[in-house]
Amino acid sequence: MINEVPVSFYLLLSAILFAIGAGGVLIRRNIIIVLMCVEMMMNSVNLTFVAFSRFLESATGQVFVFIIMAVAAVEVAIGLALLVELNRHKQGVDINEFNSLKG
């Protein structure tokens, strides 16, 4: 019964999730939410990889997802460390506040 789902449904779902994530990045000004939306977009791409891996019966897609997960973990760790450091400089988490490259 599960196997009846065509692969295009998964692709459509991941496109929808990607669009929602992109919209969130553009709409919200809270930097934590923006990071969450970026994670969501990465996840939707992962879903595409897994769907194709199933459809093409290839392990490569799953290997890619595995590597993307490692990259996402590093990205979140560094992003949040930068956020904590930024928050010390300027109170608040509004990305419009962080508009100066100099100290």
């Binding site: 998964y10 093409l56 595995f66």
Partner: protein, 277 residues
């Protein structure tokens, strides 16, 4: 099929929840639901290993990290939002829909029909699915695997550096000194928690909360004040009018320079000689 539709609905609703929750903690919990539903979708796609990894890495590590930082910063409440519907957000939604259309068209127009790989049902039942992935990871994609190892090391070093940078000691009193006879750039008095920085040596601005003019001419002082007036740092420009400035008896500043100093700082203390004049 029904399972897929339910999971897709959960994923989409929780994705909207991430964006439209006012409380950031609720957003993080919506994100958790989203990750979990995608993990179950992986199970339905016969990718059990990735489903487990998804729960471990995303739900276990990343969401917890997000929650930790949100609570550390005390940023539970997001920006005050009176209404979600304004010109900018409508524009963003239109952009999102265009993106969705483009991606959807690309998916249906250029649907790949490539050669089948080695993750067939027979291989999965014979060796187990994780073993097939591992074989691919450690043979075809060994270089990417090693690059990920390098990336993780760089990430760890970067985060540790950022955290260390953060723990730099801040002195309670930092005095900007203008003293032509003083050869050093900085001295530290750990007992009194005071750092003295010689501006004449350093020539650029830094965070200070007192000024001492010991041995300097009118020109030096004027350059110093010009730099302060051109300063664009919000915190410092708001702080200058509270700073106390001591001028020693050794330097012979003109009345005009003293007036400039009085305009810039809260309090300009002159050593006794001028008071006698």
């Amino acid at each position: 099929m029904i399972l897929f539709l339910i999971l897709a609905a959960i994923a989409i609703v929780s994705a909207f929840g991430v964006i439209f929750n006012k409380n950031v903690v609720h957003s993080a919990l919506s994100l958790l639901v989203n990750f979990a539903s995608i993990a179950v979708l992986y199970f339905t796609l016969n990718a059990q290993f990735l489903g487990i990894a998804q729960i471990l890495v995303y739900a276990g590590a990343i969401v917890v990290l997000f929650l930790f930082v949100v609570m550390l910063l005390g940023a539970e409440l997001g920006e005050p939002v009176s209404s979600w519907i304004n010109a900018r957000n409508v524009f963003m939604v239109v952009l999102g829909l265009i993106l969705l259309t483009v991606v959807g068209t690309a998916v249906f127009e250029y649907f790949p029909n490539g050669a089948k790989g080695n993750l067939t049902q027979e291989a999965v039942t014979q060796f187990g699915q994780t073993q097939v992935i591992a074989a691919s990871l450690f043979t075809d994609h060994l270089l990417s695997f090693q690059l990920v190892a390098v990336l993780l090391s760089v990430g760890v070093v970067g985060v540790v550096w950022l955290a260390q940078h953060q723990q730099r000691h801040k002195f309670r009193t930092v005095i900007a000194v203008l003293d032509g006879n003083w050869p050093q750039e900085t001295t530290v008095d750990a007992e009194a928690d005071i750092m003295r920085v010689n501006w004449l040596k350093r020539q650029t601005l830094f965070d200070f909360n007192r000024v001492e003019i010991k041995q300097a001419g009118d020109e030096d002082v004027e350059r110093f004040v010009t730099q302060i007036r051109n300063d664009t740092d919000d915190w410092r420009t708001s702080y200058y009018p509270q700073i106390r400035c001591d001028v020693s008896a050794q330097c012979d500043l003109s009345e005009n320079t003293l007036r400039i100093l009085r305009d810039t700082f809260a309090q300009v203390e002159l050593a006794p000689r001028w008071i006698d004049d």
